[in-house]
Every structure is written in structure tokens, then in C-alpha cells.
């Protein structure tokens, strides 16, 4: 019994620390665009992020958590010695956390998801045996790391192209923006709500029929769009800041839309990234409580709440500074561009979350930004940095794996 308490305490500590790190660093990528474009103040952004990260984690974070918990390691091989899974998951959390700390200090663009998945694969393959890894599932996950940025990029490209055609290239872009932006708001709210209802909510025990799901999504989206349309109608051109084409005011109209997509982005981020922190924790808990590797045991809801809470604390304590810093650097991502990137990324991520695939939210967002760039939306993109992201992508998996293997053997020798 005592050993179990030690396991759970350690896993909870590591998990909360991981969640804190996600809140402190990664959330900034979701919210900084809105702050940089002044669609939201820092305080508003923190509030939006806190609420929607938490909702995303709790309402739609279950599927990815399951994958991290029991989709990568083949539990059947561990029936004799369940404590190996405990050591491994603890080692993975510690490995991913250390690797992220090392990477942050050196300024390497490293993904949390890649670190944790690499770590779990590493300890399972070396600590338990090559066959302990569900390679098919891992293959799917790794494929999705290529596909998700591409998908987000493609969607962002199409969205931004439509913005250019319908609004920015027209004679009176302001009038066109006021007409079309509520429609974009509807689609943004509809997509994210629908995917959440269809793919996510069943994990919290809510079962809604397909037809009702659509109706509910439409109702919510219409309500948000009407509210947005009301806010947009109140926007008047600011004569001083304005040139002939009214782009200044046009961007303020898109700012309203961006608040909606920022909520969606925070929700999507919470739904996918919470698993990185609490997936291993959930695995440790189920082993410790049942004394066996129970593949069927369900995920306790309080674990998701713990993860969501950790993210919010990270956001409140440290994340605000990161948001401000990043926001200052990405002013090129004006609301008309930023919303396209955020909507594309959020949609891609929420679909992945619903399917239970852990992807890098940041890479997905980077892919979306590149998509906007391909539609001639970004003044200047530094391709060197894009290359560096790719290199880090490749390096992170073995790095996380090697660290996890080291920690695994240390735990195996010192823990009861």
C-alpha cells in the first residue's frame, strides 16, 4: 500500500509540473496572436485561455489521454509485473520534462507531445521489450505529426484566400468585412462545437444523437455569430488611423472574429495537450489502485481536472509573460491573418483530439501560419527557423527516449 501512495504522489507531482510547463509555455502560442493584434488585452487573454483550456482539457481531453495512457504500450505484456509500467510512466514524465527544460534554455523549438511520446516509446522498447510497443499505433501518431501541420496549412490557405477574395481585394473592404465576418464567426463556432460534441463529449458520459449534435452546434454557433455581428456593428472607422482602404478598421472587425477563434484555439490546445501531463499519471493511478495493468479501467474525471488546473496555474504564474513577449513578436499576424491560422489549427487539433491522436499543437499552428504565408498573407517568414523546427522534430524523439530509458532504470533500482 505504501508503495502505491509513493507512486501516485510522484506521478501527480510530475504530472502537475508538466501541466504547469504546458500552461506556462505552450498556451502562449494559442493566445499570443490575439494579444499581439490587440484583439484582446493580456488580462482578457488569460481569462479566455484559463476558461477554455480547462474546458478543453476536461470535456475533450479524454481520448488523447487514453492513447497516452494505454495506446502506446501493450499492456498485455505487463500482466506479471505491473510496476514496470509505473516506473516507465514516471520516467517518461521526468524525461519529457527535463528535455523540455533543456530545450527551453537553449531556445530549441521542441514539442511537448513529441517529447512525451518519444519517452514512452523509449522506455517501453528498451525497458520492457521491442514487442511492448504498439508500433501500429505509434506509426499512426508519427504520421499524424506530418499530416496535421500540412492539413492545418491547407485549411488556413483556403480560409485566407477566401478572405482576400471576399474582403481585402474588394472596393469597399470595410463594408464587405462587416457583411462576411459574422459568417466566418458562425463557421468557426460551428466547426469547433460540432467536433467537440461528436468526438469529445462522449468521454464525459454525455451521449447526444447525431441529429441533436448538429442542431446544438448550429444553435450555439448562431448565438455566437449574432453576438459577434452586434459587436461588429458598433465598430466605427477611426479617421485618424485610417487611409483610403479602411484596412485599419477592417482589422478591428476581424478582431471580433479573432476572439472566437482564440477561444477555439485554447479549447483545442487544452483538449490535446492535457494528455501529455496526465496521460502517464492516469496510467500510474490505474496500476496502483488495481495492482494490475487494467486496460479496461476508465479515466477518473478528477485527473482531467487536475491537468486542466495545472495548465491554468502555469498560465497565471508564468504564461502571462510569455504571452506578452510572443505577442510583441508576431504583430505581422494581424486579425485577418491570425484568425485564418487559428481557425485552421484549432479545427485540425480538435479533430485529432476527438480521434485520440496526440499531435503537436504548436507545429500545427506553425503549419497554419505557413499556409497563410503561401496565400501571400505574411510579410516575411524565416525559412531557416522552419528548417530548425523540423530538425528539432527529428531530434526530440530519440532524446526523449534516451532520457526515459535512463530514468526508467534508475527508478527500477531505487523505487520499492
Amino acid at each position: 500500500m505504501e508503495a502505491e501512495i509513493i507512486y501516485i504522489t510522484l506521478a501527480a507531482l510530475f504530472g502537475i509540473f508538466m501541466a504547469w510547463g504546458i500552461g506556462a509555455n505552450d498556451v502562449a502560442n494559442a493566445m499570443a496572436t490575439s494579444v499581439g493584434s490587440k484583439a484582446l488585452t493580456i488580462k482578457q487573454a488569460i481569462l479566455v485561455a484559463a476558461v477554455f483550456e480547462f474546458l478543453g482539457a476536461v470535456l475533450a481531453g479524454g481520448a488523447v489521454t487514453s492513447t497516452i495512457r494505454k495506446g502506446i504500450v501493450d499492456a498485455d505484456l505487463l500482466t506479471g509485473e505491473p510496476e514496470l509500467l509505473v516506473y516507465g510512466m514516471l520516467a517518461s514524465l521526468l524525461a519529457a520534462g527535463s528535455w523540455l527544460a533543456i530545450a527551453s534554455r537553449n531556445g530549441w523549438p521542441v514539442s511537448t507531445t513529441h517529447s512525451i511520446v518519444g519517452a514512452i516509446v523509449g522506455f517501453a522498447a528498451v525497458g520492457i521489450g521491442i514487442d511492448a510497443v504498439q508500433w501500429g499505433q505509434v506509426g499512426t501518431i508519427v504520421m499524424s505529426w506530418v499530416i496535421s501541420p500540412l492539413t492545418a496549412g491547407f485549411i488556413a490557405y483556403l480560409i485566407y484566400l477566401s478572405v482576400q477574395r471576399l474582403i481585402l481585394r474588394q472596393d469597399d473592404p470595410l463594408a464587405k468585412a462587416k457583411r462576411y465576418v459574422p459568417v466566418y464567426i458562425f463557421f468557426a463556432a460551428f466547426t469547433i462545437t460540432l467536433v467537440t460534441i461528436l468526438k469529445g463529449l462522449s468521454h464525459v458520459g454525455l451521449d447526444i444523437s447525431l441529429q441533436d449534435s448538429y442542431l446544438l452546434a448550429v444553435a450555439i454557433a448562431v448565438a455566437i455569430a449574432l453576438f459577434g455581428a452586434y459587436a461588429i456593428r458598433k465598430i466605427e472607422p477611426d479617421k485618424k488611423a485610417e487611409k483610403k482602404q479602411h484596412f485599419h478598421t477592417v482589422e478591428r472587425v476581424f478582431g471580433v472574429l479573432m476572439i472566437v477563434t482564440a477561444c477555439g484555439m485554447a479549447f483545442a490546445h487544452g483538449s490535446n495537450d492535457v494528455a501529455n501531463a496526465i496521460g502517464p499519471l492516469a496510467a500510474v493511478i490505474s496500476v496502483a489502485q488495481t495492482g494490475a495493468v487494467a486496460a479496461k479501467s476508465s479515466l477518473p474525471a478528477w485527473v482531467l481536472v487536475l491537468g486542466g488546473g495545472g495548465i491554468v496555474i502555469g498560465l497565471a504564474t508564468y504564461g502571462r509573460h510569455v504571452i506578452a513577449t510572443v505577442g510583441d513578436k508576431i504583430t505581422q499576424l494581424t486579425p485577418s491573418r491570425g484568425f485564418a491560422a487559428e481557425l485552421a489549427a484549432a479545427t485540425t487539433i480538435v479533430i485529432a483530439s476527438g480521434t485520440g491522436i496526440p499531435i503537436s499543437t504548436t507545429h500545427t499552428l506553425v503549419g497554419a501560419v505557413l499556409g497563410v504565408g503561401l496565400a501571400r498573407g505574411i510579410d516575411a517568414i524565416d525559412l531557416r527557423v522552419v528548417g530548425r523546427i523540423f530538425v528539432s522534430w527529428v531530434v526530440t524523439i530519440p532524446a526523449g527516449a534516451i532520457l526515459a530509458i535512463i530514468f526508467f532504470f534508475i527508478f527500477k533500482n531505487i523505487l520499492p
Binding site: 509555455n25 502562449a28 527551453s104 521542441v110 481585394r169 485577418s336 516575411a380
Partner: protein, 224 residues
């Protein structure tokens, strides 16, 4: 780690380019006061304006180097990097020519013949107009980037460049008239001064030529 998103953005060349043409125009604009002072023989005042011109030309030069430094080959932009660098180069030449003209006049304390004074000042002002119109056109760059170099904004800028061309043609006409007038009176002038007068007219006219080339470069961007 969190900077992954921030770092994929290179430094945008748009604001610096708009700022640069602003300095170049400001520099060219000084020529009016400079010739005004020199024609009335107030060489102290002319020297002060000339110092201001040099200062602005330096500022434009520094900004030019700064912009080049932040436009590495690895940048992916909606328009070719080379075209933006060319635009920057001709913008900079507006300031360069201004400095050259003022230097030439100042160095020789060259007196513009009184009979030509009014006509010459008009010619200078028209060149300054060209630089101003170039500034107006380049200041649309941010809007062009927003619109992705398509649509209504492109037509707007194309219209501005047409106006720039009209001004430049006007300076050409004025230049021809000025040379003819100078030819009429050249025998009455110190021969060396006369030769340099032709050169001053030529160099001044190049300010509008450079402004027109700014328009040409901008036009190239529009066709992307």
C-alpha cells in the same frame, strides 16, 4: 520553446521601406530652401541646409543597410526579395542625388543666374513633387501586403504611379525649357559656371528620374 511561433516571422520590410522613402523625400525637400538661400547669396544659411541634407542622406543610408541586413535570402515573402532590394536602392538614390546637387552648388558657391531663378526654382519644386508622389505610392506598401498584391488596392497604387509618371514628364519638359533658356544666356556667363549649370540641371532632374524608377519598381511588385 514558446518562441517557436514567434521566430518563424522574419522582420517585415514594409514599415522600414516606408520610413526610408520618408527620409529620402525629406532630404529632397530641403533643396527648395537650399536653392532659395543660395540664389539670394545667403551662403551661411545654404550651408546649414546642406548640413541637414547630408544628415538625412546618412540616415537614409544607415536605414538602407539596416533593411538589407534584415532581409536574408532565407525569407519567404509574397514578393521577390530582389525586387524589394531594388526598390530600396532607387529610393536611396533620391537622397543621393539631392546630396550630389547640393554638394556641387555649395562647393563652387555656384550662383544661379538671376534671369533663370524663378524658372529654376519651379523646376526644383517639381522634382520635389515627384519625390513626394513616390513617397505617397510607397506608403501604400502595407496595404498592398494586406491585400496580397491583388484587387482594388492594386488599382489605387497603379493610379498613383500614373500620376508620378505625369509629374516626371513635367519635370522633363521643364528641364528642356530650362536648358534652352540657359543656352540663350550662356555666352554672358563665366564659361566654367555655365558648364556646371548644365550639370546642376541634369543632376536635379535625376531626382524625378529616380522617383519615377521607384514607381517602375513598385509597378513590378504589382504585377506579381
Amino acid at each position: 520553446m514558446a518562441n517557436m511561433l514567434a521566430n518563424i516571422f522574419g522582420a517585415s520590410p514594409v514599415d522600414p521601406l516606408e520610413k526610408h522613402i520618408g527620409i529620402a523625400y525629406n532630404c529632397a525637400k530641403q533643396l527648395h530652401d537650399f536653392f532659395d538661400a543660395s540664389m539670394s547669396g545667403e551662403w551661411d544659411k545654404a550651408a546649414a541646409v546642406r548640413a541637414e541634407i547630408e544628415k538625412l542622406e546618412h540616415a537614409a543610408d544607415d536605414l538602407k543597410k539596416e533593411i538589407r541586413l534584415h532581409l536574408p535570402k532565407s525569407l519567404f515573402m509574397p514578393v521577390p526579395r530582389e525586387d524589394l532590394l531594388e526598390l530600396l536602392l532607387v529610393q536611396d538614390k533620391i537622397a543621393n542625388r539631392t546630396k550630389d546637387v547640393s554638394g556641387l552648388v555649395m562647393g563652387r558657391k555656384l550662383q544661379i543666374p538671376a534671369q533663370l531663378a524663378e524658372q529654376f526654382l519651379e523646376f526644383v519644386d517639381r522634382n520635389i513633387d515627384a519625390a513626394k508622389q513616390a513617397r505617397k505610392s510607397v506608403r501604400e506598401l502595407d496595404e498592398l501586403f494586406t491585400a496580397g498584391f491583388r484587387g482594388a488596392e492594386v488599382d489605387l497604387v497603379a493610379g498613383m504611379i500614373e500620376e508620378l509618371d505625369r509629374i516626371e514628364t513635367d519635370t522633363d519638359d521643364k528641364q528642356a525649357a530650362l536648358r534652352a533658356a540657359l543656352f540663350e544666356i550662356e555666352v554672358s556667363l563665366n564659361p566654367i559656371d555655365a558648364i556646371f549649370m548644365y550639370q546642376v540641371i541634369e543632376l536635379t532632374g535625376q531626382i524625378a528620374d529616380m522617383a519615377e524608377r521607384v514607381g517602375r519598381r513598385l509597378e513590378l511588385l504589382l504585377s506579381h
